[in-house]
């Protein structure tokens, strides 16, 4: 039996949100000094951001990415201090 037409594929949309260039990231600096004290002497630069995973229904990958982008623009990221990258993977 085929699925009803209203049931759309399910996707995991991931928003990777990072502090923008030029924005101070004291967490990143603290992590870097921690790594260096653990003898990871090659550590050059650390930035700490966040990953937000959202499960959505969407007709296509483009639709899922579009939803994720709009979520970032409206709520998940603050463009004054953050930049984001959105990806989508089908899960059902």
């Amino acid at each position: 039996m085929s699925e009803p037409e209203s049931v759309q594929p399910r996707w995991i949309v991931e928003a990777e949100i990072m502090p923008r260039q030029g924005v101070n990231d004291p967490q990143g600096e603290a992590v870097m000094s921690g790594l260096r004290s653990l003898q990871f002497t090659g550590t050059q630069r650390v930035r700490v951001g966040k990953l937000i995973r959202v499960e959505v229904t969407a007709a296509s990958e483009a639709d899922a990415l579009d939803q994720g982008t709009r979520m970032c623009e409206r709520l998940l990221a603050n463009p004054v201090i953050e930049e984001f990258v959105v990806s989508a993977a089908r899960i059902g």
Binding site: G22, V23, N24, P26, L75, L76, N78, V80, I81
Partner: protein, 236 residues
């Protein structure tokens, strides 16, 4: 003369609302009412205060969720009519997230929660909330924040300086602005800013917690008292 009516907005997680209500009512003599974040009409008020605290537990970013509360639509209209709005600490963060003020508040550069007395120097006495002060006045006020490091990008900082939107800077007790006094690492030592129209002001220090020498200081009254000057001017 009818008393000035001030509303203090309570979001889930606000904790400075009662301090603000007490200061405005008992120390300044205003008529006050706590405004629930679900209310949709602010017509009765002459001034609105967004208090300190941790609205929505600071989930995602400070102020990010509170920005979508029902009360924010009438607040925007209130601000656009030129009526006085003050955001204290978390209230400042909410106003930035709502784009009623420019910029954003980042994690303190020390990564510590800052809870101590600080000094700020008034840079602009011509706002709705600093009208009772003079430029270069130094106020001693408490701070209590983890994300108080004010940020705007360089180009926008130049705009703020040119438009006179930098209302106060962290300073030493004698009024000197330097990096030692700028403990959270704010751009240009900024402690308080206003919008272009000068009726919306946000600051990280807590004037409502410095209204009586019995609680450590009364300089906060000098700040909040500016609203009396503004209301008086508006009435004449």
């Amino acid at each position: 003369m009818t008393r000035i009516r001030a509303g203090v907005i309570s979001f889930p997680g606000s904790n400075g609302d009662h301090d603000a209500l007490h200061a405005l009512e008992h120390d300044l003599g205003l008529s006050v009412r706590r405004v629930d974040y679900r209310e949709t009409n602010l017509d009765e008020f002459d001034a609105i205060v967004l208090p300190g605290g941790f609205a929505y537990g600071d989930a995602l970013r400070c102020g990010a969720i509170a920005r979508f509360s029902p009360v924010m639509a009438p607040l925007r209209a209130f601000a656009e009519e030129g009526r006085p709005v003050l955001g204290i600490c978390n209230g400042f963060q909410v106003l930035c997230e709502a784009h009623l003020l420019p910029g954003a508040l980042l994690r303190n550069r020390t990564l510590n929660f800052h809870c101590f007395w600080t000094h700020m120097r008034i840079e602009q006495s011509n706002t709705s909330w600093t009208a009772g002060l003079a430029n270069a006045d130094v106020l001693r006020l408490p701070v209590a924040h983890g994300e108080g490091s004010y940020y705007v990008e360089d180009g926008q900082l130049a705009d703020l300086e040119r438009e006179g939107q930098v209302v106060a800077r962290y300073c030493s007790p004698d009024g000197t602005v330097n990096e030692c006094a700028n403990r959270n690492g704010s751009v240009a030592s900024i402690a308080a800013i206003c919008n272009v129209r000068r009726n919306v002001v946000g600051l990280m220090p807590h004037p409502e917690r410095a209204t009586n020498s019995l609680i450590g200081g009364s300089d906060g009254l000098r700040f909040l008292g500016g609203i009396l000057e503004t209301a008086l001017t508006a009435a004449t």
